[in-house]
């Protein structure tokens, strides 16, 4: 098929717009000095050495992992079975979940944070736990979408019936028949949720702020101190998203091939 030049142009403009900031940050993170000249005066790994030698960085990385992993794991244990039950046994409740999802869209971080602070800041409950709870709600749309689609693809309702007719209990049927079949779909939505939470700043900054410094808060503080180190963090962060996305793409592809 012949494509006029302007189709390359439109895609080119958009890709360029998306790539240039990434590229600039990437080069900046390896530059020794870059204040006066067009090109950096020299290249170095210095900033990365500094970064990974900084205990504060490693700690904040750890905290980010705890929060994102904690919330994702919690939703795997609690949300996936709930969505399964609703899809299989009480499809009428799907409307309810969908309105919950619209609610989460209408209440982005900054709004939900206001309510959470009013509700829990003086209650003695750890705000870190509150953040995990808020994260649980925030990833509901992605987990629901992924789980429901996987369940539909494998015709979960008939699978459950078949397993139970053959004598499996409800729990056994869920564990041995349904779970292995929806695993890849759930993995994809978990990775997606994880990467979204890993980049989350608003809630964690407003709810716990400096007292539980995550990687995003650490980055925010480094912005005004050292541009080079900040860009090294951004590069590492983007690298992590790339790895997660690569896994997501790979899992989705093998799933499509096997179905």
């Amino acid at each position: 098929m012949k494509r006029p030049l302007y189709h390359y142009l439109t895609i080119g403009i958009v890709l360029l717009y998306l790539v240039v900031p990434l590229l600039g940050t990437f080069v900046y993170s390896f530059a020794t000095q870059w204040h006066k000249t067009i090109l950096p005066e020299g290249l170095t790994f210095h900033w990365y050495q500094d970064l990974f030698g900084d205990v504060q960085f490693l700690q904040s990385l750890g905290r980010s992992l705890i929060l994102s992993f904690g919330a994702t794991a919690l939703s795997l244990v609690i949300m996936v079975p709930a969505i399964f039950s609703i899809v299989v046994y009480a499809p009428k409740l799907e409307k309810f979940i969908q309105s919950l999802i619209v609610m989460t869209y209408a209440m982005p971080g900054v709004i939900i944070a206001v309510g959470l602070i009013r509700a829990y800041s003086n209650s003695g409950i750890s705000m870190v736990l509150v953040t995990i709870g808020a994260y649980f709600v925030a990833i509901l749309p992605y987990m629901y979408q992924g789980t429901r689609n996987s369940l539909r693809n494998i015709h979960a309702v008939s699978l459950m019936e078949a397993a139970q007719i053959l004598g499996a209990s409800q729990i056994t049927a869920f564990k041995k028949v349904i779970l292995p079949n929806i695993m890849s779909g759930i993995l994809v939505s978990s990775l997606l949720s994880f990467s979204i939470l890993f980049g989350e700043f608003v809630l964690v900054n407003l709810l716990v702020g400096g007292s539980f410094e995550t990687i995003q808060v650490y980055l925010y503080q480094k912005l005004n101190q050292s541009g080079h180190i900040a860009s090294a963090i951004v590069v590492c962060y983007f690298f992590l998203i790339c790895i997660l996305s690569a896994i997501i793409v790979k899992v989705t592809r093998t799933k499509k091939e096997t179905v």
């Binding site: 895609i11 940050t25 204040h35 919690l74 869209y105 709600v137 608003v202």
Partner: protein, 281 residues
């Protein structure tokens, strides 16, 4: 009568408890707080009256609405053309571009704001290049201001717009185009008379999602200008998160109004998407 379903009950209870605690309870406290006086006492409309009377908060809403609208329109215009172009390429390339769009859609907030500082800040790459060649077009440009913010907002809107519009173009059937061209319509006539009217509701729906997305954005502007730039979300953050100017009740009232704005945007999208389906069936 079906017997009580053990699994349904056992799995729904913890799920409902968490959703109740972290979605409905905060929502209630926010709305309740917005009707309280300073210090959390009594019942009053004072906070809302303050928002409607104080020019500072008018400006915050005006700025937020303007930047959200502007960035959404720019992003959707770019995405309408680029996404259509994408659909003309082989499937493999389409998939790659979509993965890339998905990837960059994760690149938002603080990291994104920083990337633009690297490019356009006081000693940013482009600033240096332009200075080197003596071009003065950038000397009046300031990334820490309105124009810088627009660039950043456009950046995080584009991937979202592309991902939302991509399935819309899949709905345009190749046969329609063939039929139109057999009947003598040119490509531009096809788009003007058939293509565009079919996808228009979806474009408008996407626009409303982008608008809501930008209205709720906080981190980029915060990273760029701290609490100084007057946006609704920045005001909410500053009023709520306990610095010396904290007025959480007023913050709650503004957050409630922002939430209502987003609900309206969502309803518009809902209404438009229903319109699409009716037209096509």
């Amino acid at each position: 009568m079906r017997r009580m379903n053990g699994m349904l009950v056992a799995s729904l209870i913890p799920f409902s408890v968490i959703v109740l605690l972290f979605l409905f309870v905060p929502l209630f406290f926010m709305i309740y707080g917005s009707f309280q006086g300073d210090g959390g006492t009594g019942f009053t409309f004072k906070q809302y009256a303050e928002i409607f009377q104080n020019a500072y908060y008018h400006q915050a809403f005006k700025n937020s609405i303007l930047i959200s609208f502007l960035s959404s329109v720019i992003a959707i215009v770019l995405a309408v053309f680029a996404t259509y172009s994408i659909t003309l390429f082989p499937k493999k390339i389409q998939d790659r571009i979509l993965v890339f769009a998905n990837l960059t859609s994760n690149f938002a907030g603080i990291p994104l704001a920083f990337a633009f500082i690297v490019l356009l800040g006081n000693s940013g790459l482009f600033t240096l290049i332009f200075r080197h060649f003596g071009w003065n077009t950038l000397s009046s440009f300031n990334v820490y201001s309105w124009s810088g913010l627009v660039l950043i907002y456009v950046y995080f809107q584009i991937p979202l717009a592309v991902m939302l519009l991509y399935p819309v173009y899949q709905g345009i059937q190749i046969q329609w185009k063939e039929a139109a061209s057999l009947l003598g319509a040119s490509s531009s006539q096809f788009w003007l008379r058939i293509g565009l009217p079919v996808i228009m509701p979806s474009i408008a729906g996407t626009l409303s999602i982008l608008f809501a997305n930008a209205m709720g954005a906080y981190a980029s502007a915060y990273a760029l200008t701290g609490s100084t730039y007057n946006l609704v979300t920045i005001r909410i953050g500053a009023l709520t998160a306990g610095d010396i100017f904290a007025k959480p009740e007023l913050g709650s009232a503004i957050a409630t109004l922002l939430g209502l704005t987003l609900v309206v945007a969502m309803l518009i999208n809902e209404w438009l998407s229903r319109k699409v389906r009716r037209d096509l069936s």
